[in-house]
């Protein structure tokens, strides 16, 4: 069987019921949005179903949408069926007050560090992760730097004197 978008949608909808999951076919990769408490169930089904066979976790990351009240943090999974060579993107949206999702480490060993990275930068708590601690930032850090409320320094600020960096300026 050729794994087309229609087939994937039909198989997944048949299992979880029509209307519960949202599909987007207009993106570059078929995108599936799942209620947050179901992420592990859907991943498990996508992994175990013989016809779907999404057994390779390409990437896992998060995006912060501060204007989406109640679902500010999106966790994005990129899955790949290497045999049929089909990609699938799966998203869950979490509220920023309680950004909790189930960990995929039981299915994919590689999810371990990817989830740690996502926790490190966005504060997403992955329930069931064996070792959820910061990975790239220092352990003492008490905020999640990739969230949009931490902007980079404004490049046009004028209160910094260039002379301190050896580039002329007004310092005598």
């Amino acid at each position: 069987m050729v794994l087309t978008s229609e087939n994937i949608m039909a198989l997944v909808d048949e299992k979880f019921g029509r209307g519960l999951l949202t599909w987007n076919e207009n993106s570059d990769i078929l995108t599936l949005t799942v209620p947050p408490e179901m992420n592990l169930k859907v991943l498990q089904f996508l992994f175990e179903n013989d016809q779907l066979g999404f057994r390779f976790l390409t990437d896992l990351t998060a995006v912060h949408y501060p204007d989406n009240a109640g679902s500010e943090i999106a966790v994005v999974y990129h899955l790949h069926n290497l045999v049929a060579n089909v990609r699938l993107r799966m998203k869950i949206f979490l509220p920023i007050e309680k950004p909790e999702a189930f960990s995929a480490t039981r299915i994919f060993s590689g999810a371990n560090w990817m989830e740690r990275e996502t926790y490190d930068f966005f504060g997403v708590i992955f329930i069931g992760h064996p070792n959820l601690k910061r990975i790239l930032n220092v352990d003492e850090m008490d905020y999640f730097p990739m969230r949009k409320e931490y902007p980079l320094e404004d490049q046009t600020r004028i209160d910094k004197d260039d002379a301190m960096f050896g580039r002329g300026g007004s310092f005598n």
Binding site: S27, D28, I29, R55, F56, L57, T58, D59, T61, V63, H64, V76, H78, L82, N85, R87, R89, F108, S109, G110, N112, W113, M114, E117, F121, I135, L136, N137, V138, P145, M146, P151, L152, Q155
Partner: protein
Amino acid sequence: MTENKLVPNLPLPSGSIQKQTTTMNLGPTHPATHGVFQNVLELDGETIVDAEQTVGYIHRAFEKLAERRPLYQVTPITDRLNYCSSPINNMGWHMTCEKLLGIQTPKRVDYLRIIIMELARISDHLICNSIVGVDTGAFTGFLYVMQYRELIYEIYEEVCGSRLTTNIGRIGGFERNFNDIAFQKLEKFLAEYPGVLREFENLFNRNRIFMERTQGGGAISAERALSYGFTGPNLRAAGVDYDVRVAQPYCSYEDLSFDIPVGTTGDNYDRFMVRNGEMWQSLRIIEQAYKKVKEFKGAEAEVFHADVPEYYLPEKMDVYTKMEALIWHFKIIMGEIDIPKGEVYHAVEGGNGELGFYLISDGGRTPYRLHFRRPCFIYYQAYNELVKGSMLSDAIVTLSSLNLIAGEMDA
């Protein structure tokens, strides 16, 4: 004969730690780690009982930086991911932008890009394999091949002016056409490099000591490798023939014919052999692409970028003399071009595997979110599983044969 009895250890002073293993720090600045990352090893004699990796020593917040930069300013950031093959990162980024913007590049640009990308792959694998040699005690190979990495860097220099962190190419093509010296150096490389690579292989491939040191060490099964998200030569050494250039061809790779070398056991020796095989294939690809470049005639033979004035800087002479060029120049440099809304994932076959760019644009002038799928970062987490139960000196070889690049790991 006097009776020889094992003398038990002296009782330790009270309060001391009662353990039989030694904890050792390998790294973060140990010369054998070839990069800034740390391994805390638990040793029983010389055998590794457990290992824990620490990364993040050169984390530079690239993803955050990219959120404040127009697209063309993100390119120098990508240089610093896998700095052994930065042109692949640059081109991967340009192709991601082109995918989002819907830019079609001319065929000649594609072939020129392939030439540069495959040269970068050779220089990447060259370093990795010769370092495996150095770590097993064979320094000679490293010195033999270094001249030809130099030649590759000279070709980069002719095209873009820099060597290690290249910032090569622009959105839509190249910043300038390849000059004659670049092509001459490429021809010299194509003529001389096969001999050097053969000599390098003669030193290692059937070398008894090298085989004993590398075979069976750091082995991983195909199933575990897939579960860990391995890609690139490390996955192919375990026997899975996944290569982005074939699975999802980009940049006209579908026009060229080449093989994908695969291993069977996924150990250090197989990784070494797969990388060697890939260098031969890269040479094949460069030859074909170069032949196709030479076949362009007339005006087509001068094309080196797509016609995208919104993103491709105009010729400097035109900026001084033409109004329109001056306007585009100003708009691009000041970052005043709005990027269309969209969400793309684009992957290229980097030196270490699938290098992915996940770019989200909300219609602003900079990416809303940019995530790099860094193959090194993903497969390094398997390291403790690879070295558990092996000797300390084998762990060093495993480390170098995985081709871990700290810049890519920490982003």
